[in-house]
Amino acid sequence: FLGAGGGNDIQWCFSQVKGAVDDDVAEADIISTVEFNHSGELLATGDKGGRVVIFQQEQENKTQSHSRGEYNVYSTFQSHEPEFDYLKSLEIEEKINKIRWLPQKNAAQFLLSTNDKTIKLWKISERDKRPEGYNLKEEDGRYRDPTTVTTLRVPVFRPMDLMVEASPRRIFANAHTYHINSISINSDYETYLSADDLRINLWHLEITDRSFNIVDIKPANMEELTEVITAAEFHPNSCNTFVYSSSKGTIRLCDMRASALCDRHSKLFEEPEDPSNRSFFSEIISSISDVKFSHSGRYMMTRDYLSVKIWDLNMENRPVETYQVHEYLRSKLCSLYENDCIFDKFECCWNGSDIVMTGSYNNFFRMFDRNTKRDITLEASRENNKPRTILKPRKVCASGKRKKDEISVDSLDFNKKILHTAWHPKENIIAVATTNNLYIFQDKMN
C-alpha cells in the first residue's frame, strides 16, 4: 500500500543506479525497454544502439538481512544492427523496442528481443567449467605431435571463471512491412505474437520461415486509414486470447478459436466520449501507448497520454477505474504538440493486480494503489543517492501559489521522461529507466 506513513504502506528506498553520470547523452545510450524475467532474478534492458544488458540479482546475503541482493551485470551483447533496406529505401533502426523473457526450462535463459523489423531469440548460457587434459592438444590449444603421446588419459572438467554467453538461436525476419511495436509470448510457451502498426503475426518459437497473420487492419485504400495498432498482448492464462490497442483509444480482444484471421473482435473496449469535449487534441491524447494484463488476467490496464485506465474484461463500455497521471498537462497541450512530447509513448506495469506504476516527465514516476485509492509521485534522481534513504514524495503545483517543496508545471523538464518501468514479479523491487540511466528501488525492509 502506498503513501507516507501508515503501517502497511510501502516505503520506497533508493538501491542502485546504472549508467553514465554525464549530461551529454549519446543516442545509442537511450534506454528503450526494461524487463524482469519470470523469477525476477534477471533484469534486461535494451537501448537505441541495439544493445542488451542483463543484470542478475545477487544471492541474498545472510549477514546483510536489511537489503535484498544487488543487481550486477550478468551479460551484455549487441542484439540488432542498423540496416538499410535498399529495395524500399528504408532505414531500419537497431533500437530494441521490446524484450520478453521465456520461462526457464533448463539451465539456460532465453529471451526475445525485437527492433522495428526483426525478432531474435537469444540463448544466454553459463559456462563455469572446461575440459582439461586432452591427449592430442596442449592446454593452450596447440596440437601435440602424436608421436610424443606415450600414455592416454581421460580429460576431466575443472572449474573456471564464470563465462556468460549469449547466442542468437532463431531469427524471425521479413514478416513485417510496418514497424513492430509489441511482442508477447503465449501462455502455451510455444508460440508468440508480434504486432506492427497494421498487422499482428503469430509465430512458433521453433519455426522461423513461417508466421501466421492473425490481424490485418490495413485498408484497401490507404487514404482511408484512420487508426493503427499501438500495442498487443496475450492473455496470461488463456492461450487463445489476446488484445490489441489502437491509436483511437480502443482495445480489441480476440479469440483465435473463432477464426484464423481475427479481424472481427470478440470484445471491443471503448470509453464513450463526450462530443462537446472533443478538440483537436482528443484523438492524439487518447492513443493508447501500452496495454498490460494483470497477473490474474481478470483486468487489463491501458496507458494513454494523460491517464491510466483499468478495464474489467467483463465490461466493455467503460473502464472500471481511471487514474490521472499528470492532468496539469492538459492546459499545456499546445506546446506539448509543438515539441512533439504529446507523442511520447509511456508504458505501465502492474504489481500483481493491486498497484500500477507509470512514468511521467521531470524523471517523475507515479504509482496508484487500486485498493486504498492512494497515489504517489516519486523522482528518479541521483540526489537521493544513499541506499536505504526513503524517497520523498513529490508534488507538482498546477496553478496558484506554489507551496514549498512543490514544483511548478513550467519548471518541469520535458527532456527527462520516464517511459519504461518494470516491477519485480515477486518482490517490491522496481526498475525505472530515465533517458540513459537505470534506477533500482526497493521497499524498506525492517
Binding site: V53, F84, C334
Partner: protein
C-alpha cells in the same frame, strides 16, 4: 523546447481531417483543451484544412524512409554541371519534392562498437 532524437510522428500542418476547429467562444466556458486548441490555431491557421487520410498516421508508417536514387542524383549532377546542387535544409529528415538527396544527406549508419554504459 526542441528535443533531440524525437521521432516525429506527424507532419506539421496536417492533422486528421475529421477534426474541425470550433470557435472556442461558442461554449460558455472554455475547457483547457479547447483553449489550447485555440492557441494552436492562432499559431498555425492552416491546420485542419487538408482533406484526405490522416497524415499523422501516414507519417508514422513512413518512419525511416530515406530516398536516394543514384540515377536521379547523377542526372541532376549532369544537368547542373557547374552549378551547386540544392542541399538539404535544416531538417534533413523531411525530403521535399524539389530536393534531390545527395550521398552526404544520408546519415552514416554505424553499429555501436562500444559497450553500453549501463554495463560499465
Amino acid at each position: 523546447i526542441v528535443l533531440p532524437g524525437c521521432a516525429s510522428a506527424r507532419l506539421k500542418g496536417s492533422p486528421p481531417a475529421s477534426l474541425f476547429f470550433q470557435d472556442a467562444q461558442e461554449k460558455g466556458s472554455v475547457t483547457p483543451e479547447r483553449a489550447e486548441e485555440a492557441k494552436l490555431k492562432a499559431k498555425y491557421p492552416n491546420l485542419g484544412q487538408k482533406p484526405g487520410g490522416s497524415d499523422f498516421l501516414m507519417k508514422r508508417l513512413q518512419k525511416g524512409q530515406k530516398y536516394f536514387d543514384s540515377g536521379d542524383y547523377n542526372m541532376a549532377k549532369a544537368k547542373m554541371k557547374n552549378k551547386q546542387l540544392p542541399s538539404a535544409g535544416p531538417d534533413k529528415n523531411l525530403v521535399t519534392g524539389d530536393h534531390i538527396p545527395t550521398p552526404q544527406d544520408l546519415p552514416q549508419r554505424k553499429s555501436s562498437l562500444v559497450t553500453s554504459k549501463l554495463a560499465g
